[in-house]
Amino acid sequence: MDSALIPEGVKRCSLWKFLLALALVSAVLMWGVYAMLLCWVKGLNQTNMNDYYGFALWIWADLAVIALGGGAFFTGLLKYVFGKDELKYIINYAVLIGFICYSSAQLILGIDVGQPLRGWFIFWHANVHSMLTEVAFCLTCYFIVLTIEYIPLSLENRQIKKVPFFANLTHNMHSAMAVFAATGAFLSFFHQGSLGGVSGVLFGRPFSFREHILIWPYTFFLFTWSAAAFGPSFTLFVTWLTEKITRKKLVKDEVIHMVAKISGWMIITYIIAKSADTLYWMFNTAPSQGLQWSFFYQNNPFYGKWILFTEIFICGFLPGLLLIFKATRENPTFRVTALVLGIIGVCLNRWVLVLQTLAAPVLPFDSWVLYIPSWQEVATTILPIAYGVILIMISHRYLPIFPQERELNPIDAPPASVVSRQPAPTAVVEGQSA
């Protein structure tokens, strides 16, 4: 029934199988929607946030998905501004993943803000001394850019592109994409940075406070750097996952290896800078405030030194090294291991800077306060994942996301006897499965 919408020359699963999978993911989505409605109708008392945890699971999820969606701006920057043309084979997917990540972040913020009807206040009554205002401005503008980048892809649907205006619009938007990509990179630099800057400027929270370059704390630069480093890793990981689920090769190895190499070098340079920043904080910033760094990793059941070791060595240096050396980069097992470790590493970094910052005591009579999210928080955090899976499923089925898919997965020509009976042989060779 939907075969007329499927891109030419590629195979897709049967419609009933597709709808069944869609229904399963939609059930998870509805669970999240139910929790979201509870938060909107009954209020933030549905969460386990309190006076210690004004920022909690949602803000961590926000920061994590924004970092992981960084593949879109960095890949776009490399392709459209620095002219890495080979990236055209993966840029569509990077944009789709970025679009999902940023729309998810906005959705989460829409729940977290408590009063979504007043969401526009941050634009109209802007506090120009707040890094979060910069985040809100840049995040919204960059989401518009991502939408603009996603539009030509959606207009390339087999039926839509038959309309001359849409075909011309697709062509013209592709021609102007360098302007949008450069704008997106500018916006990403600032909002990724400002998300890190939020923790870095908290002089009342010595765990996350950092020294500054002009008005920007070191965390500002580290956040942007880490998003550019781990974002492409996430794009590669989701591509690998999609290949496993569809049981098809979707992107050529040369492209995968090139992105993995770029990501590896970005990770290794980032983690060296991160290590230098951590050492400076350990032996300079924290002592200047009368504190020893080890204080932040003791007297509590969860936040030990293991978390620092894991973030920097196991999920930082290790994936970086695995990706920069040709032998390990081109070995699928090592490469995927590195990608997973990198993704865990950047998520752990965001967790530490949001949650551990708030958990550590800041007054002499204070103690460590740990936090366990409510099921409503968990469900609303899983909600964007289900939404992302659905959008990927629909986009992959109906849009030509992977330009190399047809070449890598040629559809067998039908037997000559069948062809001879067909009035229009080309239609058979195209061979969509319904």
């Binding site: 055209k88 634009f123 109209w124 009554h125 802007a126 120009v128 001394h129 205002t133 910069e134 401005f137 503008c141 518009i144 850019v145 603009i148 390339e156 592109k161 001359p164 205006f165 849409f166 075909a167 011309n168 619009l169 697709t170 062509h171 013209n172 938007m173 592709h174 102007a176 302007v179 949008f180 704008t183 500018f186 916006l187 030509p400 330009p403």
Partner: protein
């Protein structure tokens, strides 16, 4: 926020924040306007919009 609102102050913070956001929105808006107008013109001229990249 727009300069004619009572909350507006002519200081560096407002120049930088709002200057940047309005500049970006203008670039995005002009870019999209250009694409849409050019597409209308191309369609009226009978172009098919073939893109060699895709």
């Amino acid at each position: 926020m727009l300069p004619f609102l009572f909350e507006w102050v002519w200081d560096m913070g407002h120049y930088v924040f709002h200057g940047a956001v309005w500049a970006v929105l203008s670039i995005i808006g002009m870019g999209m306007t250009f694409c849409i107008i050019k597409s209308v013109v191309d369609t009226m001229q009978g172009k098919t919009g073939h893109d060699p990249h895709h």
